[in-house]
């Protein structure tokens, strides 16, 4: 049996997964499933996405022994999800429709005058850190609402890039978009979040 000592905690988690240790699976499921769902949601509706993530975990049980650690575990899992989703789309002959044409949100584009200067400049003031602000339940709920109202493609790009801190090239790979299109998705999503927080701060309403 394997008695190697792993200096990095992920290494020992992977060994435990390879042995089929159920508590290691519980831990990994909690850590990695939200990101896997974000990947699947890029391609599929919610219930299909959830199903794909479940199926992927079952696949992982038999596939983990092939994991060689060339990429991180997270990237490996995200790729498995992405490949499954792409296969599913292919077999149903559907495609992900994304609008990459404009990098400015229309609501923001309207705030400049004809010469391209600010007509209605940004009014947000941040006096507190993000973590302190998130203790405001109303703001947190509002953010939830707006995040779920984002187009799936923008939300997935944002989640993978920001919350799961993938490198751009990994996100492009997993979501099958070009680098410049990823930039558009990210920027559109961030503008929407900005506009939402601004409205919230000005009016106290979501």
């Amino acid at each position: 049996m394997n008695t190697a000592v792993h200096p990095d905690p992920q290494g020992s988690l992977i060994e435990d997964l390879k042995r089929g240790d159920s508590s290691a699976y519980k831990k990994a499921v909690r850590e990695y499933s939200p990101g896997m769902l974000a990947v699947a949601r890029f391609y599929l509706d919610y219930s299909s996405a959830e199903e794909i993530v479940q199926d992927c975990w079952v696949t992982v049980i038999d596939a983990i022994h092939k994991f060689e650690g060339r990429s991180g575990l997270k990237t490996w899992l995200h790729r498995i999800v992405a490949n499954r989703c792409k296969n599913k789309l292919r077999s149903s002959k559907r495609e992900v429709a994304i609008d990459f044409s404009e990098s400015l949100e229309p609501e923001l584009a309207n705030r400049f005058n004809a010469t391209g200067r600010w007509d209605l400049p940004p009014s947000l003031k941040f006096h507190e850190s993000a973590d302190t602000l998130m203790e405001n339940d109303a703001l947190s709920d509002c953010l939830d609402k707006h995040l779920s109202a984002l187009p799936e493609t923008q939300r997935s790009a944002l989640m993978l890039y920001e919350a799961h801190q993938h490198k751009s090239e990994d996100v492009c790979n997993i979501l099958d978009v070009s680098a410049s299109n990823l930039r558009v998705l990210l920027h559109r999503a961030r503008q929407k979040i900005f506009l939402m927080v601004e409205t919230f701060q000005e009016t106290g309403e979501c």
Binding site: K26, S33, Q54, W57, G116, P122, L147, A163, R190, V197
Partner: protein
Amino acid sequence: MLMCKDLAGIASDYIDGELTGRRNLSVKMHLMMCKHCRSFIGNLRASTDLMKAHSSSKPDGEFIRRIDERVAEALKTRKPRDGDNE
């Protein structure tokens, strides 16, 4: 010359350090002169941090529970491998 509207279009690229050379420089120059755009860049960055702080919080319990069930079921029928404990 780079106008505010142009800058707003590439603000995320600037924040993420994706702009190079002359383009990056022209954004920097503009920001020195324009407080509205400084404010916009700051706002966009703060909004992004807020999103990050928010979404790293909680996975959906039901969703996780269903995966746990599927995994537990599949582990029962898992084929033993070399390197397993006895």
